[in-house]
Symmetry: C2
Subunit: 259 residues, 2 copies
């Protein structure tokens, strides 16, 4: 397939590199020409920073930009690409946002966390596809199969709930690690001491119901320790962490005394 | 060494089984005799549920009970064990709690999350030891070396900060997984779809500074998505999750715009 990208951020970077090995990446668009060129050089594509220069001889256009920009982008590029399928890569944007403007549209959402510094294990990355018509869906299935064998055809409502869950499981758990690092850093204690614990906590959640794996003072209803920890955070003037500690502990207590 | 335990919970279970292969576990005490016997049978020890039956011919007594019970236990057993070193296994209880009552005291704290269903990788579990006198410290070093090669001599303040950090990195991240599962369960979406994401998020935190690995709408300052997610949780009548979402998003935004 001949594929172009709008966007040269983390998702575009990883998708273009992965798809580029089996398909042809034609153009990369970014408002910042340098960004477009940086990625284009790596996948032998052409860099553009003006929609008027879009090459219309493509099979698929992938919009990989921030959610808030998707609506503006589809409105601007749709006139150039009447007969081309255009997809976005977002977990949290409804297919309708494209369908209102462009008939041949779809979603190609990889459920993974993307950093420039890290390789993606595509084979094990779930891909969620959705399309407004059958022919485009078939093409997306073909494309997705070339990347991963974990392919799911979900509607927008299911995909949105999965993305919301991912924010809790990924973004918020990462922020928990970040808060933990701030706490030990303040006492010159090595954060890497927590690595086995972080690893085991994640492994447990993959093998069991996380609810049953809950441990800690809140789970045990140990009010003395909870109070001591609040006091420690207060003395360190970390009201932000204290607030998180209080809210999550209270909810864990509630969840485990409902039984 | 000849070692006895007060407590037959998760920590006592894993420690007794691990130490029992190289040392002799003499007695297991629990207020509930059945619990004491359940564990004793697995490590060829004697079960007791009355402090008057404590065998005083031991080298070490390990108190593995809830933090709030440690003070009461040391006061009750100290008279029987004047010349025996007594340690607790808690990350969050100061050595002083023992030292006030018993001279030969210490701490033997394994930084790990314990479930009955899961084996512990002791070799990679950091052990934190502390003792009121040099001879007892040496004995604890000897004991700890028989379990793990990650041995640390930390004072109570450092240990307490590490344990507080562990609550964020482990208990709270597990609660994030739990909340994520509740969200997908409500839409009949399979929680296992999030496994690669959970795994990769943990792996990232082990290889990099978690602050630099933060992703998601809050990190990007994407107010539209944040508002949409709040709305979704409100419609599902999950004010509890909405509150967590709001607080953590607000803090992530603050942390990443301070730059």
């Amino acid at each position: 397939m001949r594929i172009s990208f709008i966007g040269a951020g983390r998702v575009a970077y990883h998708l273009a590199k992965a798809l580029g090995s089996q398909h042809q990446v034609v153009q990369i668009y970014s408002r910042t020409f340098e960004k477009a060129e940086w990625l284009s050089l790596q996948v032998q594509a052409q860099a553009i920073s003006n929609f008027e220069n879009i090459n219309t001889d493509i099979d698929l256009m992938i919009i990989a930009v921030s959610d808030q920009s998707i609506k503006g982008v589809i409105e601007q590029i749709s006139p150039y690409l009447k007969d081309v399928c255009i997809v976005h890569t977002s977990g949290s944007t409804h297919l309708n946002v494209l369908a209102k403007t462009h008939d041949k549209c779809g979603v190609f959402y990889p459920l993974q966390t993307f950093s420039l510094e890290r390789e993606i294990d595509w084979e094990n990355t779930p891909l969620f596809i959705e399309a407004a018509n059958k022919q485009d869906l078939e093409n997306l299935v073909y494309l997705a199969n070339s990347l991963s064998n974990k392919l799911y055809s979900y509607n927008s409502e299911q995909r949105l709930s999965l993305h919301l869950a991912a924010i809790f499981a990924c973004n918020f758990s990462n922020y928990c690690y970040d808060m933990a690092k701030q706490i030990v850093d303040a006492k010159h204690v090595d954060f890497s001491l927590l690595y086995p614990l972080i690893q085991e906590t994640a492994n447990k959640a993959l093998a069991n119901n996380p609810k049953d794996m809950q441990t800690g003072p809140a789970m045990r209803g140990d009010e003395n320790i909870i109070q001591m920890h609040q006091e420690m955070l207060k003395q360190e003037k970390r009201e932000d962490l204290q607030e998180v500690y209080a809210l999550l502990s209270q909810q864990i207590i509630q969840r485990h005394t409902k039984l």
